[in-house]
């Protein structure tokens, strides 16, 4: 199969949806001739014009509100937060309006919108441009939270998100943008709310998200040579969360390591750990549930510190090996 980058896969999904459906449009900062800060929308303005690829002033609340209002009245907007951090300026529209309006109106309104957000560290952008904020939205009923880790899923999950009738927060990762992988050329959707077993193994279940799925796979390769086989599961959709494959895996391996880039304290991993501890897998656990996640700090500028602030391949290797060997 043809290989394309994560950025290209996202762009292809947007293009396909826009070609098929006049109700889809994109709105955000510098998404027109500039093509988006990370190039996702490059060239789309030439094809669809400035009324469907809408460059905005620097007004994040306005961007989010534009999506909510358009979604409420028959459109399927795709908004962009240039860096996911800036979503702090759009929280009201996303969490008090988009997420709640359907319920508040007795189920009589729909808000089919997607907000794409470029998240994560690793580019030296420092504390205000490198956060991983998905956990906030996992805590908000009415929203869906999607986090693709590969090009193929970037396309399939984005198309599914655009056609979902609920507001979807779609977290991309800056370091994934240039990663390549096989992506079918035709239209397809990857269902929301389905976890995926990315790699099968028997010694340890690893639940990872976004860039950490890629790192976990690299760690698995290394450990495989030592005879340790990781089973890697990528939830892909964090809300709703499909725990079934995770629980089944833990029942098989008896051990689990949860890995994400976001700060550990209060992060998504806590929810996964809690759901495992509440589940029928509890009795099968033969080691404590472990989380490997971002240090308790903002992302530093210095490249070396930055790399140390979030889980890298070698950290996953160490942690996984220890867990399997009973060192904890």
């Amino acid at each position: 199969m043809r290989e394309i980058t994560y950025v290209e896969a996202l762009r292809e999904a947007i293009r396909m949806a826009m070609e098929k459906d006049p109700s889809v449009f994109v709105i955000g900062e510098d998404i027109g001739v500039y093509g988006g800060a990370f190039g996702v929308t490059a060239g789309l303005i030439d094809q669809f014009g400035k009324d469907r690829i809408i460059d905005t002033p620097i007004s994040e609340a306005g961007i989010a509100g534009a999506c909510v209002g358009a979604a409420l009245t028959g459109m399927r907007p795709i908004g962009e937060m240039q860096f996911s951090d800036f979503v702090v300026l759009a929280m009201e529209q996303l969490t008090l309006q988009a997420a709640k309006v359907r319920f508040m109106f007795g189920g009589k309104a729909t808000v089919p919108m997607v907000m794409r957000l470029a998240g994560g560290s690793g580019t030296g952008a420092a504390a205000q441009h490198s956060e991983s904020l998905e956990a906030w939205f996992v805590h908000v009923p009415g929203l869906k939270v999607v986090m693709p880790s590969s090009p193929a899923e970037a396309k399939g999950l984005l198309l599914a998100s655009i056609y979902d009738d609920n507001p979807v927060l779609f977290f991309e990762h800056k370091l994934l943008y240039k990663t390549k992988g096989p992506v079918p050329e035709e239209w397809y959707t990857t269902p929301l709310g389905k976890s995926k077993v990315v790699r099968e193994g028997k010694h340890l279940t690893v639940v990872a998200t976004s860039i950490e799925v890629v790192r976990a796979q690299q760690a698995a390769e290394i450990l495989s040579k030592e005879g340790i086989e990781l089973e890697i599961i990528d939830p892909r959709t964090l809300r709703p969360l499909d725990m079934e494959p995770i629980v089944n895996s833990v029942m098989k391996t008896g051990k689990v390591l949860i890995v994400h880039e976001a700060v550990k304290m209060g992060g998504f991993g806590g929810e996964v750990a809690a759901q495992i501890a509440e589940s029928r897998a509890f009795g099968y656990l033969d080691a404590p549930i472990r989380r490997l996640a971002g240090l308790d700090m903002p992302i530093p500028y210095n490249r070396n510190l930055e790399a140390h602030a979030v889980p890298q391949v070698e950290n996953i290797v160490d942690e996984a090996r220890n867990l399997v060997k009973g060192v904890y």
């Binding site: 006049p22 109700s23 449009f25 709105i27 009324d51 809408i54 905005t56 002033p57 007004s59 609340a61 306005g62 989010a64 509100g65 534009a66 999506c67 909510v68 209002g69 358009a70 979604a71 409420l72 009245t73 028959g74 459109m75 907007p77 009201e92 529209q93 008090l96 309006q97 309006v101 359907r102 319920f103 508040m104 109106f105 007795g106 189920g107 009589k108 309104a109 729909t110 808000v111 089919p112 009923p141 009415g142 009738d165 609920n166």
Partner: protein, 327 residues
């Protein structure tokens, strides 16, 4: 154009039939609010509410200039009057106010979130200024669908200091969106006098920061509200972009359920009560005290029936509690 001299028309603009309709709607709003206050004090309603007594002129003057159900309404927390003026059904409204399954929002929303999406009424707002960014999206949607609709976005004087006001008016302006921004200036944002909250004479003065028209009008004069809104409507509906109308009015009651009103004087309240919109409009149309009272009784009767409807309606079933969170 509005022909203010049109022969035989009341205030130059309304047929007698229309004028009676407006007075009846104002009386209905007044009765709804009085009843709401009473129910509240009797403990029959849980939660809070924001009464619009004294502000009825803005609601009926505005709706009469637009095309309710065709146009979009983005209502404000103090929105009972606008809801009724937009043609809302008083029974289902009362049912929502009392949290019943037959209410517009199945009892999930209450006074602050009452909506009638089918009638393009996108609901009242619990968040000051929260409907303003949404209005940008509605405007974009109208443009994309190429209809001749406009969106009416209503907010209070206090809301004009939220960042959302700024971002929204700017976006609406640069994209020439068909949105009429109606600022209902009732002199206070809760306890904060607008005189302390801003440093310009009128909120409409802020329109110039976005290059859009802004006017201030006497909100207790139904005819003036109608005329101003009609100008705004014509401007906006013909594709010229957004328009800001500030309607000066006053709320007679406290901000919400528990307000000692230490921030204003009784005299100030009294003075504004003398500028009451209903009696004022009655005079314009030459309606006597007696007829007003008669019509008031009719309005009260409707409210009584609405209360009966609401009271005899079922509570939402607990088993359905999770319904409506997701589509």
């Amino acid at each position: 154009m509005v022909n203010s001299q049109a022969e035989g028309l009341i205030g130059g603009v309304f047929t007698r039939e229309k004028a009676l309709d407006l007075i009846d709607t104002m009386l209905l709003v007044r009765s709804f609010e009085e009843n709401a206050e009473e129910m509240f004090s009797l403990g029959k309603v849980h939660g809070t509410m924001h009464l619009s007594i004294g502000q009825e002129g803005v609601a009926v003057g505005t709706a009469s200039a637009l095309r309710p159900r065709h146009d979009y309404l983005l209502n404000v927390h103090r929105g009972h009057g606008h809801f009724l003026a937009w043609g809302g059904d008083v029974n289902r409204m009362m049912a929502e106010f009392t949290g019943k399954e037959t209410g517009y929002c199945r009892g999930r929303g209450g006074s602050m979130h009452i909506a009638d999406v089918e009638a393009n009424n996108l609901g009242a707002q619990g968040i000051v200024g929260g409907n303003m960014p949404i209005s940008v999206g509605v405007g974009l949607s109208i443009k994309a669908h190429q209809t001749d609709q406009v969106a009416l976005c209503i907010f209070g004087d206090g809301a004009s200091n939220e960042g959302a006001f700024h971002e929204s008016l700017n976006m609406a302006s640069i994209w020439k969106l068909p949105v009429i921004y109606l600022c209902e200036n009732n002199a206070y944002g809760m306890s904060m006098s607008i005189k302390k909250a801003i440093n310009v004479p009128h909120i409409s003065d802020r329109a110039s920061a976005y290059g859009i028209p802004g006017v201030t009008v006497d909100g207790n004069d139904v005819v003036e509200v109608y005329k101003a809104m009609k100008l705004a409507e014509e401007y906006t509906r013909s594709g010229n972009g957004p328009y800001l109308v500030e309607a000066e009015t006053y709320r007679w009651k406290g901000h919400s359920k528990s307000d000692k009103q230490a921030y204003r004087t009784r005299d100030e309240v009294k003075e504004w009560m003398s500028k009451e919109p209903i009696q004022r409009f009655a005079k314009v149309i030459g309606m006597g005290e007696e007829e007003v009272e008669q019509r008031r009784l009719t309005a009260r009767e409707k409210i009584k029936k609405a209360v009966e409807f609401a009271e005899s309606s079922p509570e939402p079933a607990v088993k359905d509690i999770l319904e409506g969170v997701y589509a």
